[in-house]
């Protein structure tokens, strides 16, 4: 079921958490709200859930499945919510946690005991924790707890699923496993989901669409490919991975980087969009000196210092690194590739 947020603002005392934000999430989509802490992404999620009330304003609305729900409280909205720190009920077993949302229903809507048991067991199967129904949350690992929290949220058959930094408290390996699992699960059950995260890799890997937020506003909305390859602003470019900052000018559709860093327009180049050569090539190669070579990992990273000491980071394949046979303090030339160079607000 779709979600639509229209012209929503939220201030806490003098602090502006959201400034006139609008957002659309299509039926069955998985959208990531991506941004640094304090960008307003969690506040937006909590407003959709009904845990925060947006500032009163004309034209402000929260619409889920075509219904305006601003006036409803969190209890009546029937959204599934997963917290960063799980928020499992510590004095209930896994089974009771998942069954909670069904057991608190008014008598006429409550499924019979057997019905509850069946649904909980099905969810336990879905999260692959069949054998642990009678454990308490304290007896589970972080990853297991978060899966229980997800099952508990899904038990009420929510209209939408909201996840607030669901993998933020887990270690790197579990986090990666769990986010792939979440993606597969979403492909299976297709519940409209909004995921809040500050981890760009997570957003790029999991989401159908990414909403990049900064300073209480939405900076850009698009597919992972769009926001990564065509960032709408300097902020988005910088937030989605490391960038090198150069200065230069634009000449007939090409960026010409000047060796003098103090003049010209800022130009941003990703580390893998830079090439290193032993000899000068192209229009305006930059002279640089190798400072550090880091070849552990999927690609090799070379840190260089430009003529004026400016740091440059270049990423390349291990093959290319071997070909160049670079050493510390070697003098080389750096060329931006023809492909993508971004100027402040428009790409060249």
């Amino acid at each position: 079921m779709s979600i639509e947020v229209r012209n929503v603002s939220k201030t806490f005392g003098g602090y502006v958490a959201l400034r006139n934000v609008s957002l659309c999430v299509g039926n069955g989509e998985l959208v990531a709200l991506l941004g640094p802490s304090g960008s307003g992404k969690t506040t937006l999620l909590r407003i959709i859930a009904g845990l925060e009330v947006p500032d009163a304003a004309d034209g402000s609305a929260v619409i889920v499945a075509g219904e305006e729900i601003s006036a409803r409280n969190a209890r009546e909205r029937r959204v599934g919510f997963v917290f960063q720190h799980y928020a499992l009920f510590r004095y209930m077993t896994v089974f009771e946690n998942i069954a909670f949302g069904l057991r608190v229903r008014p008598r006429e809507e409550r499924p019979a005991k057997a019905g509850i048991r069946e649904r909980v067991n099905r969810l336990l199967e879905l999260i692959q924790l069949d054998g642990l129904a009678h454990r308490y949350p304290a007896q589970l690992s972080g990853g297991q707890r978060q899966r229980v929290a997800l099952a508990r949220a899904l038990a009420i058959e929510p209209k939408v699923l909201l996840l607030d930094e669901p993998f933020g408290a887990l270690d790197a390996k579990v986090r990666q496993e769990l986010r792939r699992w979440l993606r597969r699960l979403h492909d299976e059950i297709h519940v409209t989901s909004v995921l809040v995260t500050h981890d760009q890799d997570e957003a790029l890997e999991v989401a159908d669409r990414i909403v990049v937020m900064n300073q209480a506003r939405i900076e850009q909305t698009g597919t992972p490919e769009e926001v990564f390859h065509n960032p709408a602003s300097q902020f988005v470019m910088e937030f989605l991975g490391h960038v090198n900052l150069f200065h230069g000018r634009v000449e007939s559709g090409k960026a010409v980087v000047s060796n003098d860093a103090s003049t010209g327009a800022p130009i941003f180049v990703r580390p893998f969009d830079l090439e290193i050569h032993r000899e000068a090539r192209g229009a305006a190669p930059m002279r640089a000196r190798v400072r550090r070579i880091q070849s552990a990992g999927p690609s090799a990273k070379v840190e260089l210092a430009g003529d004026n000491g400016q740091p440059i980071l270049v990423e390349m394949s291990h093959d290319r690194l071997r070909e160049l046979s670079l050493r510390r303090d070697d003098a080389v030339f750096v060329n931006p590739r023809e492909a993508k160079v971004f100027l402040d607000d428009y790409s060249i």
């Binding site: 209890r75 510590r90 949350p137």
Partner: protein
Amino acid sequence: MVDRTAISRKLIPDMIQTAKTTEPAWMRTILLGIALLFLLCFLVLPLAAVFTEALRRGFGAYLASFRDAAAMSAIRLTLLAAGIAVPANLVFGLAASWGIARFKFPGRNLLVTLIDLPFAVSPVISGLIYVLLFGMQGALGPWLAQHNIQIIFAVPGIVLATVFVTFPFVARELIPLMQEQGSEEEEAALLLGASGWQTFWRVTLPNIKWGLLYGVILCNARAMGEFGAVSVVSGHIRGKTNTVPLHVEILYNEYNFVGAFAVASLLALLALLTLVIKSALEWKIRAEAALQVEEAA
């Protein structure tokens, strides 16, 4: 020889550290001895004295002290005062800590300070305030007299004074506990469709039950043992406005030592029982906290 020391120092820095931070054996014995001697003189001996004095004329005389009408009345009044003060402060403490831990509102810090007031004020002064307020010469005294309501030198005054001095116990215990636990579990319950009551009974109360019980036990011990504030408002009317601690004083002043110590032994037993329950609860709370931390790590 020198070389060897250097090597061992390098190899086992932790042990060197431990040796440096520990006092020599004779010092430890002296420190421990002083602490134990202090404990013996100021805690164990008085406690033993209470029971030996109470049983000086045998078990029969000990029991007879309770059969006295005035003693029975004092026990009843103490139970009544505690019976009202503890539930009242239980409800108040829950409401106050909920409000303080869950919401930010103007005057929140003032409320926290006010809750601590009974700890800061001498009990005699708090009793006196009630006398000044409700007594015959007090602000509300004439009006109360006109309507035939007696508070000072009567049971209502004793209950009021007891409620006042035991006011902070439950709230003080719960506020840090609820702040530490946060409100996420309650939010989760709400989002799953639970009503306010369902959330309170199924989520909030189980989470704070041990802390709550701890506060109630301490509150009860103080309610039954309070002397100063109650003494001021009571008027010491035998068989009417005497609580157990006040009755002990009267008996003692009448040189009825067996009676005084027998009744006092009741309070001592209550204190011992409170200590046992308190330790059990502390153990329970610590064990659960350790479990949460260990599993979270």
